[in-house]
Symmetry: none
Subunit: 191 residues, 2 copies
Amino acid sequence: MDRRQEILQGATKSFSMFGYKATTMEQVAKLANVGKGTIYNFFTNKEELLQEVVISMIRDMKAEAEQTLSPNASFIENAHNGLMKMLQFREQHLLFAKLIEEEKAIQTPAVKQMLVKIEEEIVTFLADRLRIGIEKKEVRPCNPNLVAYLLLKSYLAMIVDWQLTHEEALHEQEILELFKETIFRGIATAP
Amino acid sequence: MDRRQEILQGATKSFSMFGYKATTMEQVAKLANVGKGTIYNFFTNKEELLQEVVISMIRDMKAEAEQTLSPNASFIENAHNGLMKMLQFREQHLLFAKLIEEEKAIQTPAVKQMLVKIEEEIVTFLADRLRIGIEKKEVRPCNPNLVAYLLLKSYLAMIVDWQLTHEEALHEQEILELFKETIFRGIATAP
DNA sequence: TTGTTGACCGATATCGTAATTTGGTCATTT
DNA sequence: AAATGACCAAATTACGATATCGGTCAACAA
């Protein structure tokens, strides 16, 4: 069995459940069924371990998103499906959500750095898709980076922030509908 | 002279300068030139005193926003101007800024509650404007509360969050353009 | 009688310190 | 050559003594 992979899985689990600060290296070692020292054969320290976990999560997310995108489908359809996919795998974002929560409560530099990295990666991904859409004349000309940023922040607002001030979370359908009726319609070329 | 008003003014000054937690009732009493006991003849406790101060601030904010609204201007222009005014209030109004700062550093329940209330007020204000727009057929039928929430969060993202990860702030023109090209076009009825 | 006040009280916050935990190392084991 | 857990310094927490603060109320003033 791949020890490095075991450690990454254990770390992901612990970071998702307890956050960065409350995760101890011993905890990770236990979850990965290895000795604590073994972790340091693969990762230089706790901070780098978080980095690797985050990089791995980003890779998964991108693969997942990429899978739902079809070159034939229209931009709106792809946007719809991509968003839907992201919404359906909300629990997978547990790590992301936990890091955001931790960043709000206590400012951990390592965590803040990771959140910035995740944000950059997602914005870049979205901006690339937007550029393709613009080339295909499916999306109106616009500043792809700005719009990508707007999309990400809006998405997070509805998924994360909403729950903080409202009793129950929004349903997938509601969020999807909202985006279709606002941003998606706004940036799509008229049919 | 109106003792209640004196107390409110002293409280506003102290909350603005030191925040909620670091404000002592004795401090307020001194600033208002009354004995500490007198405060409790008008306000049941410190928390309610903050509430009253915030309510008074919200009234000012609404008045200011209302002032920028023109019956002649389009919905989009009014929405943008009104929202901008409210958000600029954050920096202009010392109390507002201080509460946000305090909430970020230490989670004081009373402060969090007040910030939620302010958010609610803004969303309600926007939702009302949206309903009027829908009646006037300037805005497509939609869920006004959801769209209002989306608008507020989006504006906050571009004005506040953007600066945290980017060198320089966005210009007001850029923000206006972005929203015109996205959400506003999405919710506006076709011309 | 009505409104004001500051000394007073219990609860909470602050601070210094002892005790514990944790990230990271490394001699020993496998 | 890789894995491990006892070990250490550094950081965190637990805790108790001390100080501060929100809120009360008997005394006082108008």
